[in-house]
Each structure stands twice: as C-alpha cells, then as structure tokens.
Symmetry: C2
Subunit: 238 residues, 2 copies
C-alpha cells in the first residue's frame, strides 16, 4: 500500500531526505503563496519561477519576468505583484512568466527539488491533486510551508484534508499525518472560525486581508495543478 | 501576560534559542522516559542523571550508579533497569542514584540546559506541574521529546493537557500550542482509544507493553516534579 506522510515545516525536511527521491511532494502554503499560484495558472499564467531570495527575484524582473516578492505578508517595494490571490485574476497576466519569492512557500518548493515530482497544493485545487495522486504509484509527502520554520494550523489542515480524501488508498505511517487528519475532522465544518485564533490569521487581519482568507479556504475551485519542471512551475490539467 | 509555547520535537528547538534562557522548560516523553522519572522519584529515588549516549551511561554505571539504557523501546544489554515505569516501583531503589539514557527523552532534557529551569512532565504529575508554574513569573516552553526528531501524538497531547489547565493565565502565541490544545480536547475522554493508531503505541503493542501505556496516561497520580540541578534531576515536592 502506498504511504502518505506529512512534514509539518521545512525545518523538519531533514527527516525525509531518504524518502524524498521516491515520493511525490505536495507543497502547501495556503495563506497565501500556493493559493496564489493555483489562482494564477487557473487564469492563464504561463509559468511561475519560485526563487529563494528577493535579489534573485529582482534579477529575473530585469530579464523581463513579472516579479512578485512578499516578506512578512507584505509586498516588497519595487515589485509588480503582491501575495493576494485576487492580484492574479488579471487578463494582463495571460501567458506571463512570473518570478516569485515569498516568506515560506517558495522556499519549501525549492527545498523539494529532489522529489519524483513537486506539486503545488491548496484547498482551491484539492480535488485535482487527489485525482492526480490516485493515478500514481508513488508514496506522497505533504510539505507544509509553515511560518519561518514553525508549524502552522492552516497548512496542517490542508494536509488533513488531502489525507482524508486519500485514506482508503494510502497508509498513514506517522503521527504528523494522524494529527493533521484529526485536526481537519474537527475543523472542516467551519474552517474560518476554527482558524480565527491562529497566528497567521491574526497577522493577516492586522493587514486587513480578511477576504483573502475566506477565498483561500474554498475547496475545489480549480482543476489546475502547478508542477515543477526544472526551475519553473508550469500548469498540469487533470 | 505570560506565554506558553510548544516545541513539537527537539529538532525544532533552534527556533526557541532566544526565548529558552528566559523560559521554564517542561520536557515530556510520555511513553515512557518522563513517566518513569516521575514514578521513580515518587518511590524514593535520590537522583537521575540523564545522559545522551549509552557509553556515558555505562561509565556512570562503573562509578556506582544504577544504570537504565533504552534504545528503540527496548533495554540495552548489560544495564540494570529498563524503560517500564513498573521497574521503578521497587524498594531497592530508595535513595538510589540512577544514570539514564533513552531514545528521545534524555536527549530532550540535555538540550534544554540553558533554560531558567528544566522540569520533567508527564500525565502522572500534571497537576503538580500546573501548580508550580502558576507560582512562577516566567514564560513556559513545553518540549515534546517526539521520536527520533519526529513529532508524536502522545507528547503533543500532554502539551495540550498542560495548556488547557493554564490557559486562563497564559497566552498561547503560536499554532503548535493551539494544535496541542485542540487535539487534547478531542482526545481527553478516552486517551487510550485516541492513541491506539499512533506510531509509538503500535510499536509498544508489538513489544506487549500495553499496561505501561494505560499507566502512563493516568492523570495526577503524584505530586513530585523532577527538576534539573546541574547535570542531575532531583525531586521537588509541590
């Protein structure tokens, strides 16, 4: 039986070094990087190149990429796009190549390069990810982006949602997966209320980004899966 | 207001380096190291010296200590005591000085040395730990010992139980604490059933240690708190 495991933060990825190259990794940074990426591809973006530093992002901007740089939940001055999914619902982005760096999400993606495949997951494309994984023979590792190395509730809940839909076909070998599954079971009837006291929701509320939170928690809006090809994410329709 | 935070595994302790020296750390390795330690002091042991390696444990044995060495949930050959709490309910241990090394728990204790105080927690002495912390002015960090760097459910549930009893007097700043609190709320009416599918309970069942599990999940049996003084744990009555 295939296994599905959860790495609650990139700071624990060293525990998965051996299994990574035989697994499909699903990276989740629900608030908001991976929700932005899914939204962008659903609206016609051609590619997104995740980079670790603001400097690399600036260099790609100089070479003609549209550039999105976020640090501490805010847009960095001098860049084209912020980290709100609504910024990616724009006809001017159709066919665009974007360079993106965020506090947590893009780092988690670049750390996963050695996997069989690296997929970008969010509640918005949850069912698409489920359908894709069901057709594959590999074990799955869900990598929660967290916040600066810390675990967070929203990415853990995404992991739980994905496991809930796959649990008849996958074994859950470790407690992190069990914890995610049970937290999601407790939360799923009202995710916004359940997440209200969480650290990042409080952080985003201070920045008045409530509508982004509600948007990012919607399930199954889009059928696209961003997948890493070389150094860029491209869209895979399922 | 004081804060209470949770480090889900020693492999994330680097995130707490700055706060450690201003915090009281409560180390939990519910199955079974910290439950053994609490039981040992409740039955009259004089001191327990936690050491990181089997070699150090053997050296202290050569100097007259009773020695307890566990690896992968089993006693290492040549040592005096195993990792079952029932082994510490023995009149011959009254006044004894014990050297102990375990897969996870003693490592977590030795990693916490820079804290204001290092306390040993378990469900068995939960209320004693609560009462002690209520009288102190420091922030609290609960360090879950986990399993070889991975998070585990039982130590996370202990963290949730401690936070539940302290939540009127402490702020929970991070999501790890919130997750622990909510998992415990979900689990507390039947901890053994809730933990049945967890990785370490399955591991212990293979070793036929069911009665240890049930024992370690009992709340508030003892009033002792093992506390680190120099390199040894001694008993503090509350």
């Amino acid at each position: 039986m295939k296994t599905i495991d959860v790495c609650l933060t990139p700071d624990l990825l060293h525990l998965h070094t051996d299994s990574l190259e035989n697994s499909i990794v699903v990276v989740a940074d629900v608030f908001r990087a991976t929700s932005c990426m899914v939204t962008a591809f659903a609206h016609g973006v051609n590619s997104i190149t995740p980079v670790a530093t603001v400097e690399e992002c600036s260099q790609l901007q100089g070479r003609g990429y549209l550039a999105a740089a976020e640090r501490n939940a805010k847009k960095v001055d001098g860049f084209d796009l912020d980290n709100s999914p609504f910024s990616y619902m724009d006809e001017r982005l159709i066919g665009a190549n974007i360079a993106m760096t965020t506090t947590n999400g893009t780092y988690a993606i670049t750390r996963s390069r050695n996997a069989v495949k690296v997929l970008v997951g969010s509640f918005l494309n949850l069912e698409a990810v489920v359908r894709f994984l069901q057709g594959e023979r590999y074990d799955v590792l869900i990598l929660c982006a967290g916040w600066k190395g810390r675990v967070n509730l929203e990415d853990t809940l995404f992991a739980g949602a994905l496991i809930e839909r796959l649990k008849d076909e996958y074994m859950v070998p470790e407690d992190s997966g069990l914890m995610a599954l049970r937290l999601y079971a407790q939360a799923k009837n009202d995710l916004p209320a359940y997440l209200a006291p969480s650290s990042h929701v409080r952080r985003l509320h201070r920045l008045s980004i409530h509508k982004d939170i509600i948007y990012c928690l919607q399930h199954d809006l889009y059928d696209v899966i961003p997948v890493l090809r070389g150094s860029a994410l491209v869209s895979m329709e399922v």
